[in-house]
């Protein structure tokens, strides 16, 4: 697959004439991997501490045995896995089709469809869930009540509660859109030459996609599938709201309950959380095994031409189907989110004077609102910049240098997602408090930035790796043969080629940091409070309308930042090609 690489002896001779890599680059993955795994080490050690809080540590297996002895633990684990598998199976084909339409075809409005995917991911989950309840509650849902007017409909048609309601809300929020935005950069980097060669040989559009495009993009597709599955296992807000009324519990709710108990049972929560670690290690090993010995290069020294596939008469049908998809899955709950922020009581249209701007006025008059917004912007911007620079270098070192320990480091970089966010936050809290840098890290913006950067390591490293696997080494070697330093080569050759990935990763890091609650919840103080913590406080105080107002602000922010980032990424990509 891809252009034929230089033969091994030639590559060795070329490398002999090259300027050496920056010192430390080969060690960077191990160092970074060591740092990101430190909080987990603290958590693992504490999971074997069976002493009561505040007492001297006593080590034993009790936390693990108590956590797993309960039969219901296995029931909720099964619930989580079955929910995750079902929605991944449904979401993946839809996501692949959407990604292909956006990134590889001339479908009209594909830019707007891509923006809607970003909006789906970062629209706040709980208000969107309440929106679906308003639409599909079996007793008062708007859709059900309208359908019951039809003569042949008796009783409610839809119920948002339970297994399929949870699956539906996941699909309409992140499970489809998330893989789409992650796969788009990889899809765009596939040169048209291979697809044209296939068509020249008589393959139709579907055969080309099936036998050429998809296998070339296997690393990205596999990676996205794994990541989506693991992330989905750790989510619990939707399951709590839609599963509890029908007695459907999931694994992450059990962990959440243990971590939030009085007193908290962090040892047991960590023990349960390490099921994710085991799962992640297995999936990561399978991923590494699949990639081993294969080449997925699509960008070579001959460059690449990314020509869109012409859909001809199918163009407008494709646009119509995508528009309908988002109209059904996003428009209605998003509209309710916006409207809800202006309602005296969320969802109660029948009140006398149901609308008000008081929630917005209260929000803007909130003494900590503007400082929280500023903190969030600082946190998100710094996180995005550091994530792009750091993890692109780590990925480069893993892929290109094949230094000793790079496979270990590659595995370590997955681990921050091995446990749910609240446990990771606890591990970071212990880590910060036990170092001499505690004054600089604990309760401060730099400390929270460090936490966000650590939390982003799996996604960012793996995506840069995937992108680098698509870029042949001859472009870099050519630059370095002509005397360019590694830094000059990285800045002028590699980074422009990686620009779409860098923008996507940076954007995800930026927007995730804006919205992440579980990472900073134990690490902030009143001066460093981010906006997400304000949302958490409104959630606990049952101030849904004000929470919806913040959600609307975040959605507007997502749109604006995504537009800017996208145009930047496209410009850089055009310069590179």
């Amino acid at each position: 697959m891809g252009a034929r690489a230089l033969s091994l002896p030639i590559r060795r001779r070329v490398r002999a004439g090259l300027r050496p890599l920056p010192s430390g680059l080969a060690l960077l993955p191990l160092v970074a991997g060591g740092v990101v795994v430190l909080p987990l080490i603290w958590l693992i050690v504490d999971s074997f501490n069976v002493a009561a809080p505040g007492h001297a540590a006593v080590y034993g297996l009790q936390n693990w045995t108590v956590a797993f002895r309960d039969h219901s633990t296995w029931v909720v684990l099964w619930n989580s896995i079955s929910l995750g598998v079902v929605r991944t199976i449904i979401a993946l084909p839809i996501a692949l089709v959407l990604t292909w339409l956006i990134a590889r075809t001339d479908m009209p409005g594909r830019g707007a469809i891509e923006m809607l995917c970003w909006l789906s991911i970062f629209a706040p989950v709980l208000p969107m869930t309440y929106g679906w309840i308003l639409l599909m509650d079996p007793d008062f849902g708007l859709i059900n009540s309208q359908l019951q007017r039809l003569p042949f409909i008796h009783g409610s048609v839809f119920s948002i509660y339970g297994f399929w309601g949870i699956t539906w809300v996941h699909l309409t929020t992140t499970t489809i859109a998330y893989p789409v935005v992650l796969m788009i950069p990889a899809f765009r980097r596939v040169g048209a030459a291979l697809e044209e060669a296939a068509r020249t040989c008589g393959a139709g559009m579907f055969a080309t996609v099936r036998y050429i495009t998809i296998p070339l993009l296997a690393p990205a597709i596999l990676l996205v599938t794994l990541l989506s599955f693991v992330i989905g296992l750790q989510v619990f807000e939707i399951e709590l709201v839609l599963g509890q009324p029908v007695g459907l519990w999931v694994y992450s709710t059990r962990i959440y309950d243990l971590a939030r108990d009085i007193p908290p049972h962090y040892g047991q929560a960590t023990a349960l959380g390490f099921v994710f670690l085991a799962l992640l290690l297995v999936l990561a090993a399978l991923y590494q095994w699949y990639l081993h010995g294969r080449s997925f290069v699509t960008v070579t020294g001959r460059g690449y031409l990314s020509a869109p596939v012409h859909l001809r008469a199918w163009r407008w049908l494709a646009t119509g189907i995508c528009t309908l998809f988002f109209a059904v899955t996003l428009a209605a709950p998003l509209a309710l989110l916006v409207v809800g922020s202006f309602m005296r009581r969320y969802g109660f249209f029948q009140l006398r004077n149901p609308f008000t701007i008081n929630h917005w006025l209260d929000l803007f008059n909130e003494p900590v609102f503007f400082s929280s917004v500023l903190n969030s912007l600082i946190l998100a911007t710094a996180t995005a910049v550091i994530v792009v620079l750091l993890y692109s270098a780590v990925a480069y070192s893993i892929v290109r240098t094949r230094a000793r320990g790079s496979r270990l480091a590659d595995t370590l970089m997955w681990l921050p997602w091995a446990v749910p966010g609240i446990l990771m936050s606890l591990g970071l809290l212990w880590l910060f408090l036990s170092t001499p840098l505690r004054a600089a890290l604990y309760g401060t913006l730099p400390g929270i930035i460090a936490a966000f950067v650590i939390r982003q390591s799996p996604l960012s490293t793996q995506f840069f790796k995937t992108a680098l696997m698509q870029v042949g080494p001859e472009l870099e070697e050519s630059a370095r043969v002509h005397g360019a330093s590694w830094l000059a080569m990285y800045r002028r050759v590699l980074l422009p080629l990686l620009a779409p990935t860098a923008v996507t990763v940076g954007l995800l890091a930026f927007l995730s940091s804006l919205r992440d609650i579980s990472t900073p919840v134990l690490l902030y103080n009143p001066q460093s409070r981010p906006l997400a913590i304000l949302m958490l406080e409104y959630t606990f105080a049952n101030e849904r309308e004000r929470g919806a107002a913040i959600g609307v602000l975040l959605a507007v922010f997502v749109l604006v930042v995504t537009l800017v980032a996208r145009s930047l990424g496209l410009r850089l990509a055009r310069e590179a090609s």
Partner: protein, 397 residues
Amino acid sequence: MDSGDPRQAFRPRPITRRLLLRTAGLGAAAAAGLAVLGCRSGAPAGQEAKPSGSSGAQPVSNPAFDALVAAAQKEGKIVISGPPTPATRKDVPAAFKARFGIDMEYLGGPSSDLAARLQSERAAGQFTLDASIAGAQTMYGTFYQNKWLQPMRPSLILPEVTDGKYWRTGKIWFMDPGDDTVLRLLAYAGHPISVNTKLLPANQLKTADALLDPKFKGKLGAYDPTTNGAGLPSAADFYIAKGEDFWVRLYKGQSVQLSRDADQLADGLAREKFVAVIGLGRAYLDPLVKDGFPLDDVALGDVPDTLSGGFGTIALFDKAPHPSAAKVFANWIASKEGATVHSRSEVAVANRNDIDYSWAPEEYKPKQGVNYFDTYGWDFTVNQLIPLRDKFIQLLK
């Protein structure tokens, strides 16, 4: 000179020496005024506008307390933890600062997160918090049990705090066995169940046995009793009063729908999804009642009304970084002024009897001679609550 042409008013005037001097003089006067105002806003004592709910009372001069305030002002700030209620987070620090000129850093959030922080900080030798406003489960079960608190009673020196005549209970109400550490400020009454009176008129629900009527199966809601929070004490109220068999027949037999979202339960009651809801609380009903929904709390003859405290216990941490400010805070929050701010922001009735409760429904105010089920009782919270929760988890499987 005015030539009569209205357009003259819009033409720029030439800058003369006289105009320049006049402008400079006005500017200097304005700057001086701003400087004076700026100095005054940093000053302590009572000329500033008070946040809503403040009594505006001027305390009687107390030399010992004044000396304490002076020492607290030298410390410059106080750091407290409190509930995530936005009104409390906004009003309590603002009122404290207006009263004493001392900054209050307020750390709100879920109690369990706070417990994790404190435990980790203290293990690392860090002591960042001076005081806490919390619910009973966290205060008794975590802070007190871990010996993180110091006695508060010796710090209370204001006569309006120490004089029992200002307290409904006849004395300052400490909850802990030592009677000196965990101060209870809030105590409000509530009926055990809320109903939609259109579906179930209040006079048709005299006892809890009526809830077992098969027609209510699937039409009842309850705050989740299997996790720490408001649902647990209200479920315990039914369990202790009516026994385990009744409890199972109600919660399990009637397919009571559980939720951890009080607004979701209140909405369901208003939308007639539920006929009745256990453990909801008046504060969630009142906004809907004001909008005309037929909702009400109902007293049951065989299940006692509850006495709750919300986020209504106060304590001082030991090794506080700002000990004088902590003592000032304790005196203030227990005084009429502080208790007024606190109770209004929490929408709850305080234990003081000199506060204006005209805003509160009668049902909130505890009545003399009524035998309430105190959900904030020490023995109940420390010794019975967790075993009951574990029992409920088993019973609902």
